[in-house]
């Protein structure tokens, strides 16, 4: 495929540009996603967990599974110990 640079100057790494179909297609909900209420509830829980940092271990597990599937993984307790250790060495500033 040829490298194409779209007119507006975006897309430095684009190898191909396709025109939008404009046919109104959108992702459909799968049966296993549940109805509107279930999806809304699950979305809210995910956002709250993400905000409070409760999903950090799950994300770590996902990351290890896809990036280093054959290496041993930290347990939840070990993970949090390491996370707190790292936070102590790299404090993030809070604003006024």
């Amino acid at each position: 495929m040829t490298r194409s640079r779209p007119a507006s100057g975006t897309g430095r790494f684009a190898i191909a540009a396709e025109p939008g179909r404009g046919d109104g297609s959108a992702p459909t909900h799968r049966p296993e996603d549940g109805d509107v209420v279930q999806r809304a509830w699950r979305g809210t829980v995910a956002v709250v967990r993400g905000l409070a940092g409760l999903d950090r271990y799950d994300r770590y597990v996902n990351h290890r599974l896809r990036a280093h599937p054959d290496e041993p993984m930290l347990t939840e307790a070990e993970f949090w110990r390491c996370a707190w250790e790292a936070e102590g060495l790299n404090p993030a500033a809070r604003c006024c």
Binding site: A52, N62, W80, L89, C96
Partner: protein
């Protein structure tokens, strides 16, 4: 051809993956035209009423409407202009979060979650305290500056710094300053950041001391947060390892019990005695606490309290906004008070120009945000095009918090507001003297008539209503905000019955995140200090973060720095907040000047001279107004304004052997005035000089860029992106189309199951890079 152009373009970086970026079709859809026309009309009506309504019935609803409509219009059009003309976000390029994904600090994060994270990191006590103090000039000047300032300055700064950092591997402001301004400019920027951080911690500590002094209820609840955090920490580490959610629930329940239990302490004869502390005792307590908290392991205190404060912060802010909409309080403060024009206000001295603009920093323009926008958020953002909603939009949300705080202060009875915010030297501290003081202020109603005199009972009853011994001279803004919040909430049926509980809930809410800022700020400043010390030949050992003596020495030095300013502030005979808050505002605004200089230089280096006015406008305004304020603080001959004029006057009084001077009641207090003003004056000069040097270096580089038609900048090379996510909260038609393609290919567009594709930054490298600032 026109039909395909209308639907926009989809860009691919990998033939085996669906598109990773979209180029939206030009123009505005009909739906958007209708929406923004409606917002424009509603906003204009709201502004019209704010500008013209006077009298007793100016409803807070107009402020909320004017703010929200202005925000949305500027987010859609002005931020979009910045996006199109300057940033030109490239979603085919991986963000640092994607490129360096390591499952920890670098990790693409859902945009709604990241928005919350970013907001929680930028919003603290600042947007609550500044507007409360500025309310002494009336509601109008503060409202205009908060709304106009944020859309043209504050949000622009946050957005541009965020974009800059995304393009530079998530580097921090200090590192970017060094890259773009050279070593000298970078070093001045870093010294500026370190000193500004010290004053920031100190002023926040003074704010919370103002709320806790001689308040057994408040001191008990705050003190209880320490054992609660310990308990949570031990629970998460040993009892039920890693169960952060369970510990948070336990913590929140205990916290509410601690606030409620405070009322028992308050009425208990012995316990009330124990928990009644003077400001000086509290200053030492906070300094000791700050030192211990910064050297204790994170899991024991900082991490658990962080979970508590995130819940408290977001929850309380949403609660306050809803309460304002439900109660629809009317303004008690007039649009403009005479303090705006004669500069004799008790909360802080000086005229509207320039002092309003440094008093309200967070909420309109806050330099400190540039430290969050660079460094933390770029490591979590999925797509470059999301920076607009997160950087610009996040700051708009903070501005909304500032408007809520301004409303909260402006609905309080004026006698109570001024009685709370005037220093002890003016109010005398008793209901009778306070009433006499506020009656002598010539307060007027919104309609311009004289305000009826207050009786001493007003102050006594107000204090009893919120479960405090006194509310007189509770300066610093936090008690006023808590009082205003309790006042608004008490007008809601059922909820309002517990007015005293709400007052202490609000105090606790502010104290929690101020303590977190004190603790985290001390840690950050400690690392900055030890990194700087490590550059001294023979002191390399300081670079090793696990070398305990080095950590203790640097922590002690940092705590000594801010601790001495806190002690100075609480013992200041002239009122610490009154003297130090301007310095805090100046420091914050000068940090903004450093950040905007870096942004401006990069725009010039890129050769975008036609659009350089976008960062230049807030930069020049900020520099002008802050230098004006600094000039007055340094050179004014008026002792109520100039630090050195006051210093000279106090010296003159001392040589004459005077026993009292202004509100200083003894020769010892006169000595304190001389010492404090010298420190404050020196700091004012230091900040101004540091920032001017950075600015001059920046202008020199900009001039060179104009001569050569642009210069190379330090933008990272970048790698192709392999994930897709919508730019805004709601996907556009074209984005939905792309999401559908990902779904059809059965690949997770957010990359949660595929990352990382490319590079790995080792943990060691990450730590090293972050420690550099």
């Amino acid at each position: 051809m026109s039909a395909t152009r209308d639907a926009g373009q989809k860009l691919k970086t990998d033939p085996s993956l669906p598109p990773v970026a979209v180029i939206e079709p030009p123009g505005i859809s009909t739906g958007q035209k209708i929406l923004f026309t409606a917002l424009g009309i509603v906003g204009a009506i709201a502004w019209y009423f704010i500008a013209t309504l006077r009298g007793e019935q100016v409803s807070a609803v107009w402020f909320v409407l004017a703010a929200v409509c202005t925000y949305l219009i500027f987010l859609r059009f002005y931020a979009k202009l910045i996006e199109r003309r300057i940033h030109r976000p490239d979603d085919t390029r991986a963000t640092p979060a994607e490129e360096f994904a390591n499952g920890r600090d670098f990790e693409p994060t859902n945009r709604a979650v990241l928005f919350g994270h970013h907001f929680a990191a930028i919003a603290g006590a600042g947007p609550l305290v500044g507007p409360v103090l500025a309310a002494q000039m009336g509601y109008l000047p503060g409202t205009i500056w908060i709304i106009v300032g944020v859309v043209l300055a504050g949000a622009v700064q946050d957005y541009m710094v965020l974009h800059l950092s995304i393009r530079r591997n998530g580097r921090s402001l200090g590192q970017m300053a060094r890259d773009e301004l050279g070593t000298v400019g970078g070093w001045f920027a870093i010294v500026g950041v370190l000193t500004i951080m010290i004053i920031l911690i100190a002023v926040l500590a003074i704010v919370i001391i103002g709320a806790l002094a001689s308040s057994p209820w408040g001191v008990f609840s705050i003190a209880m947060t320490i054992p609660i955090a310990f308990l949570m920490g031990l629970y998460m580490r040993y009892l039920r390892p890693g169960k952060v959610g369970e510990a948070s629930v336990i913590g929140v329940v205990l916290l509410v019990l601690a606030i409620a239990g405070g009322s028992l302490v308050n009425t208990h004869p012995v316990l009330a005695q124990i928990f009644t502390l003077t400001p000086v005792q509290l200053a030492y307590a906070i300094a000791i606490y700050g030192f211990l908290a910064a050297i204790l392991p994170v899991w024991l205190l900082l991490a658990p309290r962080d979970y508590l404060s995130t819940f408290m912060k977001v929850g309380t802010i949403v609660f306050l906004a809803l309460a304002i909409l439900v109660v629809r309080p009317v303004m008690s403060m007039p649009a403009v008070t005479h303090f705006a024009l004669d500069g004799t206000g008790p909360a802080f001295a000086g005229n509207l120009f320039p002092f309003l603009f440094i008093t309200i920093a967070c909420g309109a323009l806050s330099g400190f945000h540039s430290l969050i926008s660079s460094g933390t958020t770029p490591k979590m953002i999925q797509k470059e095009s999301q920076a607009r909603i997160i950087g610009y939009g996040g700051m708009l949300t903070e501005s909304f918090v500032a408007i809520s705080a301004l409303i909260t202060a402006a609905v309080i009875d004026q006698h109570l507001y001024f009685g709370m915010n005037a220093p002890l030297g003016l109010t005398g501290g008793t209901p009778a003297t306070a009433a006499a003081y506020t009656n002598g202020l010539h307060l007027v109603t919104g309609a311009g008539a004289s305000l009826p005199d207050a009786s001493p009972d007003l102050f006594a009853q107000a204090a009893a209503g919120v479960g405090e011994k006194t509310i007189i001279s509770r300066t610093g803004g936090a008690p006023t905000l808590a009082f205003g919040m309790a006042h608004i909430l008490s007008q809601i049926p059922v909820v309002g019955a517990a007015k005293a509980f709400w007052y202490h809930f609000a105090v606790m809410f502010e104290a929690l995140f101020i303590l977190t800022t004190v603790d985290a700020g001390t840690r950050v400043a400690r690392f900055m200090l030890s990194d700087s010390l490590a550059n001294i030949p023979g002191w390399r050992k300081f670079r090793d973060p696990s070398w305990r003596p080095g950590a203790w020495i640097c922590t002690a030095l940092v705590v000594l720095g801010w601790g001495s300013i806190v002690v100075m502030g609480v013992t200041d005979p002239l009122g610490g907040i009154n003297m130090l808050f301007p310095l805090f505002g100046i420091a914050n605004q000068l940090l903004a000047a450093i950040a905007l200089t870096v942004v401006f230089v990069v725009v010039m280096k890129k050769g975008l001279f036609r659009w350089a006015w976008i960062p230049a406008l807030p930069l020049l305004w900020d520099l002008f107004i802050t230098m004006w304020a600094s000039w007055q603080k340094i050179f004014s001959a008026n002792p109520s304004l100039g630090y050195w004029a006051l210093n000279a006057a106090a010296r003159a009084a001392k040589t004459k052997g005077a026993q009292t001077f202004s509100t200083a009641k003894s020769p010892h207090e006169i000595d304190m005035v001389i010492r404090n003003t010298a420190v404050q004056g020196t700091l004012s000069i230091l900040y101004a000089v540091l920032v001017l040097i950075v600015f001059v270096i920046g202008v020199a580089i900009a001039v060179r860029a104009v001569r050569r038609g642009g210069l190379p900048d330090a933008e990272a090379e970048g790698v192709p992106s392999r994930i897709f996510a919508p730019a805004g909260f709601v996907p556009t038609a074209l984005e939905k189309e792309v999401l559908a393609e990902w779904q059809a290919a059965d690949i997770n567009p957010y990359g949660d199951d595929r990352l990382p594709g490319m590079h790995h930054a080792s943990q060691q490298e990450t730590i090293q890079e972050e420690n550099e600032l």
